[in-house]
């Protein structure tokens, strides 16, 4: 028996396939596009091509498009899924998960493998992947390029929390001839500070902090977050699939 988890987020859809021993057999991601229903269909096709016919597997969907997956057996929220997925990926029962997603940022406190508490920023794009994307666009870069470049910058801060105002701040920094790496630094710094304020609302104690979600592939984000939270933040190559992996686990 195989277990499929599908995490339809705001910018990308992640899929994971696990066997009954919780081995991760397959993970893949694709852009969400305009319609969650089309995305779900294309995921179904992909799965079939890889030899995992959804109707023969147990399928659980999560993420904001979770109800749009016609072949899913049940839906579970992204909080529960991220928690389960991160626990498996990092092999920990007690941890603090920071998930910087495309449209929202979640911080989840896990104790003994169960969600103890969580905070979600879903009202404002500051401190989310969306903020990074908009700023990267303004700087004519890819988000991951911006993050890498930020490492070599410094001494610039973006004070606006509103994405629209922050964008005009970035434009005026460009106009003033500020170095690109410094602007990039300011952008990442703004996100990290916002995320840290959220994370500090939960009493993590000595629990290991981990980073999941789309931004975890950039080393500098982890580094900056570790600095801001004053504790080491680790990540993993599968961390951006935490939600999907957790969803698959929810089917067991």
């Amino acid at each position: 028996m195989h277990y499929i988890g599908i995490d339809i987020g705001s910018t990308s859809a992640k899929t994971a396939v696990l066997d009954e021993n919780k081995n991760i057999l397959e993970v893949f991601a694709q852009p969400t596009g305009w319609s969650s229903i089309d995305t779900a269909e294309s995921i179904g096709k992909n799965l079939r091509e890889k030899g995992f016919a959804p109707e023969e597997c147990k399928v659980v969907s999560t993420g904001y498009g979770r109800v749009a997956v016609p072949f899913s057996d049940k839906t579970v929220t992204e909080i529960t899924c991220h928690a389960k997925g991160a626990s498996l990926i990092f092999g920990l029962e007690d941890l603090l998960v920071v998930d910087i997603g495309g449209q929202d940022t979640k911080v989840i406190l896990i104790e003994n493998g169960f969600v103890k508490d969580f905070v979600m920023n879903d009202k404002c794009s500051a401190g989310t992947g969306r903020f990074l994307e908009v700023m990267a666009n303004t700087l004519a870069m890819r988000p991951d390029e911006l993050c890498t470049l930020a490492k070599s910058g410094g001494n610039t801060s973006i004070s606006s929390l509103c994405t629209v105002f922050a964008e005009s701040e970035v434009i005026s920094l460009i106009g003033r001839g500020e170095k690109k790496e410094n602007i990039a630094f300011g952008v990442v710094d703004s996100i990290i500070k916002k995320v840290a304020i959220q994370a500090n609302r939960l009493p993590a104690g000595s629990k290991q902090a981990v980073l999941t979600g789309g931004l975890c592939e950039c080393d500098y984000i982890c580094e900056a977050l570790s600095r801001e939270l004053k504790t080491e933040v680790i990540t993993d190559k599968n961390a951006r699939f935490a939600g999907a992996i957790g969803a698959a686990l929810c089917g067991m």
Binding site: Y64, V76, T80, F114, K116, F118, M120, D122, K123
Partner: protein, 423 residues
């Protein structure tokens, strides 16, 4: 509601705009309420009242006015109905709970005012609610800053009496509130032309106590393991209690409570076994604000109690009925009303104790602390509420929202995640 057009016209209402409201309300009510299964039969009364919400009770009030009675509109559970009833006056709640009225309020109020205030001011100034037109006098109170200032704006359009509410709960504050109630009685006497006598006031105290007891019976039924009534239905009963005649309200609530007691005896429940039980605490849910109850009860949980002004704060604690002098009665009233625990007071530890007590009494699996956007006092107090609950080992979720539906999806995710967290 079509037979009431003439009455609305006579009230000087903006019929065209009001029509839009009349068109959306039945759909909203159908989606949220009538879609529920196995509702208690007793709810038929409240369904009927909602179907005629801007017609039936307003026409009763107008009839009463024709017979010389005066109608007082109130905005807070600290304002003592008893005094008005003793002078043969009528009380009606006036809090606005719909986004429909908010833009009207925003014409004169700052954007960062809580939606309850914006909706209330909008309902008056836009002339789209009969209750706001009918009231001969509004009774305000110095509770939160937003309301205090809003009353000044309303006072340009309608007579307003403002009660000066204490902000602390020392002995002298109780005395002060008793004195304020006495002053209020004077205003009511002047408006109605009737004297408040100890006999009349004693009678009014009994009437309102009976209403409190009846509301409490329905709430007590929600303590049962098998819930005989949904949170949504209990909320509706509560919201309409602010508008209805108190004697009829008690009668209907008692009837409903009888039915619920029978359901408990027969083991009838409106939720499947194992449904998670949620206690709601926070700012009031004025009619027709059913948003959170709907989200919670369509996400696999049930609301078992509201520690709110549209909830336990409205009916808990009775007024001492043994006093025979006005002085003693005003004091007894003050004692009862000062037992309410609103975030307007500092400190307000009593509310924390109430929440923990109610969570236990109603066997809540978790608490949702909900605050209307821009209500800074409840929002700030949320810090203590959430800390105390965590210390007591009761899971808690804090939520801030307004009357719009724009955050419904995000709220659903949070609330579902919270319910999953409860296990």
């Amino acid at each position: 509601m079509s037979d009431y057009v003439k009455m609305w016209e006579d009230l000087g209402m903006d019929l065209e705009t009001h029509d839009q409201l009349c068109q959306v309300l039945p759909t909203a009510f159908g989606d949220v309420y009538l879609s529920q299964e196995n509702r208690p039969e007793g709810m038929g009364f409240w369904d009927f009242v909602v179907s005629e919400i801007h017609g039936i009770r307003p026409s009763e009030l107008i009839e009463a006015q024709k017979n010389g009675q005066k109608v007082f509109g109130t905005f807070c559970v600290y304002v003592p109905d008893e005094v008005v009833i003793a002078a043969n006056g009528i009380v009606t709640g006036l809090c606005g709970g719909s986004q429909f009225w908010v833009p009207g309020g925003e014409k004169v109020l700052p954007k960062n005012t809580c939606p309850l205030i914006k909706a209330s001011v909008g309902a008056r100034l836009d002339r789209t609610c009969p209750f706001f037109r009918i009231a001969d006098m509004y009774v305000g109170e110095t509770t939160c800053d937003g309301k205090k200032k809003a009353y000044e704006i309303l006072a340009e359009d309608v007579p307003v009496h403002v009660m000066d509410m204490p902000q602390m709960k020392r002995a002298e504050d109780y005395d002060k509130w008793a004195h304020e109630i006495e002053l209020f009685a004077g205003v009511v006497e002047e408006q109605t032309g009737n004297k408040v006598t100890p006999e009349k006031l004693a009678e009014a105290i009994k009437i309102i106590n009976n209403k409190r007891k009846a509301l409490k019976r329905v709430y007590d039924a929600r303590k049962a393991d098998k819930l005989p009534i949904s949170g949504k239905d209990a909320l509706l009963m509560m919201q309409i209690a602010f508008f209805d005649d108190p004697v009829r309200c008690a009668e209907m609530c008692n009837k409903l409570a009888d039915e619920l007691d029978q359901r408990i005896a027969d083991g009838v429940s409106v939720f499947p076994e194992g449904t998670k039980r949620i206690l709601l605490t926070g700012t009031p849910l004025a009619i027709p604000n059913w948003k959170l109850h709907h989200i919670i009860e369509t996400s696999g949980a049930a609301v078992v109690c509201e520690e709110m002004c549209t909830g336990t704060r409205y009916f808990e604690n009775l007024v001492d009925e043994t006093q025979t002098t006005l002085e003693g009665q005003y004091k007894a009233l003050a004692d009862r009303y000062m037992k309410n625990n609103c975030a307007c007071f500092t400190p307000n530890e009593g509310r924390i104790d109430d929440i923990i007590r109610l969570a236990k009494e109603y066997k809540a699996d978790g608490v949702i602390d909900v605050n209307l956007k821009f209500c800074s006092i409840y929002d700030t107090e949320g810090f203590f509420v959430e800390r105390a609950l965590k210390e007591a080992g009761i899971p808690v979720l804090g939520i801030e929202t307004d009357y719009t539906d724009s955050d419904a999806e995000q709220l659903k995710t949070r609330i579902e995640a919270f319910i999953e967290m409860l296990g």
